[in-house]
């Protein structure tokens, strides 16, 4: 316990001094403020309250930004220690690698939580300022915050795994950006292209929903849109996946961090300092 705390405290201090805390919080707050401002222009006749609408647009922002911030924080975690030469000493201590990894994870998740509170808090304040009935959207905001943390956890752990596999910070950064591009950006496009190509066959109804829910970023989007009843209003991938129950998306969001920790630990265990 003391060792986990040691690792977490040191890592949080490093994140604080490297300005990661400030950068992540500022990024989230900036994007949330821009979204809130853009959202307030197109009011129209919407049945939902202001905050629920904001949460829907935050979801589409977070699905890109949260994995990116997580990967950027995580890619250096193990490769950086290898390059600096700090890893052999830490590993000569009577501490399990899982404990060291868990400490780093706790610190980075804390940084991410601060950034999410800064970002979503900004958006929520803006929503309450323009709509007194915004409180109706609070459950959606809570769901968004917690699922964002789980999404961030998955990509933090993926970042550690890549960091351990690459063993060099430069290579780890490249792999991290590659993963972000493939898992978050290109995956949907690829699936959409596959659905269009396959037409109304078995692929679209049997395989496609599972492929969608299997990706943590898509599961995150599905969960938040479906839970707030906004999925029907979506288009393209979201509309095609409207048939997926919320519970499966939620399970995917929660299971990925567990699998991620196992995979990251396996990669870390194979590192010879």
């Amino acid at each position: 316990m003391s060792a986990l705390y040691a690792s977490a405290v040191a890592e949080f201090r490093i994140a604080l001094r490297n300005r990661w805390v400030a950068i992540a919080a500022a990024l989230m707050a900036l994007f949330a403020a821009v979204l809130a401002a853009a959202g307030s222009a197109a009011v129209g006749e919407v049945a939902a309250d202001r905050l629920s609408v904001t949460v829907a647009s935050l979801t589409s922002l977070a699905v890109y930004l949260v994995p990116l911030i997580a990967l950027l924080m995580a890619f250096d975690a193990i490769a950086g220690e290898i390059e600096r030469g700090t890893l052999p000493l830490a590993l000569s201590y009577p501490v399990a690698r899982a404990t060291l990894l868990a400490g780093k994870f706790a610190a980075h998740l804390g940084v991410l939580a601060l950034a999410l509170v800064a970002g979503y808090g900004t958006a929520a304040v803006a929503a309450f300022a323009t709509d007194p009935g915004a409180a109706a959207g609070l459950p959606a905001l809570a769901r968004l915050t917690l699922s964002s943390l789980a999404l961030g956890a998955t990509f933090l752990l993926a970042g550690y795994g890549l960091s351990a596999l690459a063993r060099r910070p430069g290579a780890a950064a490249g792999l991290a950006i590659g993963l972000w591009l493939v898992a978050v950006v290109l995956y949907d496009l690829g699936l959409l292209a596959a659905v269009v190509a396959a037409g109304e066959g078995g692929f679209a109804t049997k395989v496609f929903p599972w492929l969608l829910v299997g990706n943590p970023a898509d599961a995150f989007r599905l969960y938040n849109l479906a839970a707030s009843g906004a999925a029907g209003a979506g288009a393209g991938v979201d509309a095609a996946a409207a048939s997926i129950p919320v519970v499966q998306a939620l399970a995917s969001i929660l299971l990925w961090p567990l699998a991620g920790f196992g995979l990251a630990l396996r990669a870390f265990a194979r590192v010879t300092p």
């Binding site: 003391s2 040191a10 001094r17 000569s92 300092p273």
Partner: protein, 295 residues
């Protein structure tokens, strides 16, 4: 405390260690000497459990290297100790204290002990190499370790600090710690360790006390005779030796001839002002054992 038997390790086609064996008892300070690439760091990593040996046996107080009980009683100082530049010396030492389950408040005392109390709250990024080495030493002192594995503990330190480091190590050895340290600075380990192990091409070439190494090497002893002015020529002729300058005469002799030669010098009586006996230096011994074909 530390037993290494017949340990071998290869990296691909490169043989790093070929049947290395040595022992370090509690309270003993053993210096591991060898060229770069002789296998010193590899051996230390195996002792720490950071690398697995291909063959042979290592035991740390009866425990497997890298097992939790072994790591609990072992302290390590890596070569060129490195730390995160964004942390302060105090934070870094607190980190290592907590990793060992010790109280973080002990950092102050440790930093004082290695002479870093003043700089404790500055970031390590601003430290000199010697100061970083001291942080490394501070963490190696946590919890009175029973086995210390130190890779070049005094590299980058000034002569005064080197002396302090060896004083600390002697104190720990006095309390029963087994100390295995590697060094390039032969003159400094000469007087401050109990036994020397010379490693070359992955094999132990010699493992003995300094006196024992001298005996076994049988390297010639140099006698430097200072003659009276104008007598150097006659002294050199009488001893069948080489005149160095106006007053000095040098000769080399085998260790067992030393007393006979000294007798011959004494027989010259008033012609001789002084005589010095210069045993082979550790450098000579090291060269002899590390380059010789056979131990």
């Amino acid at each position: 405390m530390l037993v290494i038997e017949n340990v071998s390790k290869a990296f691909g086609a490169t043989i790093a260690l070929a049947g290395v064996g040595l022992r370090v008892a509690g309270g003993e300070r053993v210096a591991l000497l060898g060229h770069n690439g002789a296998g010193k760091s590899t051996l230390m990593k195996i002792v720490l459990g950071l690398l697995a040996a291909d063959g042979g046996r290592v035991s740390v107080a009866g425990h497997a290297p890298g097992s939790r009980p072994a790591r609990e009683i072992t302290a390590h100082l890596p070569e060129n100790a490195a730390f995160h530049p964004a942390l302060t010396g105090r934070e870094q030492v607190e980190y290592y204290l907590r990793l060992r389950g010790a109280r973080a408040a002990l950092a102050r005392g440790l930093l004082e002990r290695v002479g870093l109390a003043e700089a404790a709250d500055r970031r390590i990024g601003t430290y000199s190499k010697g100061m970083r080495q001291r942080v490394g030493l501070a963490q190696a002192l946590i919890g009175e370790p029973r086995l210390m594995v130190l890779d070049e503990p005094t590299s980058g330190l000034d002569p005064v600090t080197r002396r302090e480091v060896y004083a600390i190590l002697s104190e720990l050895a006095g309390k029963g710690a087994a100390i295995l340290l590697s060094s390039h600075a032969l003159t400094e380990v000469e007087a401050r360790t109990d036994r020397l192990v010379i490693l070359a091409r992955g094999q132990v070439r010699a493992d003995d006390t300094l006196a024992g190494l001298r005996r076994r090497a049988g390297l010639p002893v140099r006698l430097h005779v200072s003659a009276r002015p104008d007598a150097a020529e006659r002294v050199a002729a009488a001893l069948a030796a080489r005149r160095v300058n106006g007053v000095g005469v040098d000769m080399l002799c085998a260790p067992d001839e030393k007393m006979a030669r000294l007798g011959a010098v004494a027989a010259l009586g008033a012609l001789v002002e002084d005589v010095e006996v210069i045993p082979p230096s550790l450098e000579d011994l090291y060269t002899h054992f590390s380059q010789g074909d056979r131990p």
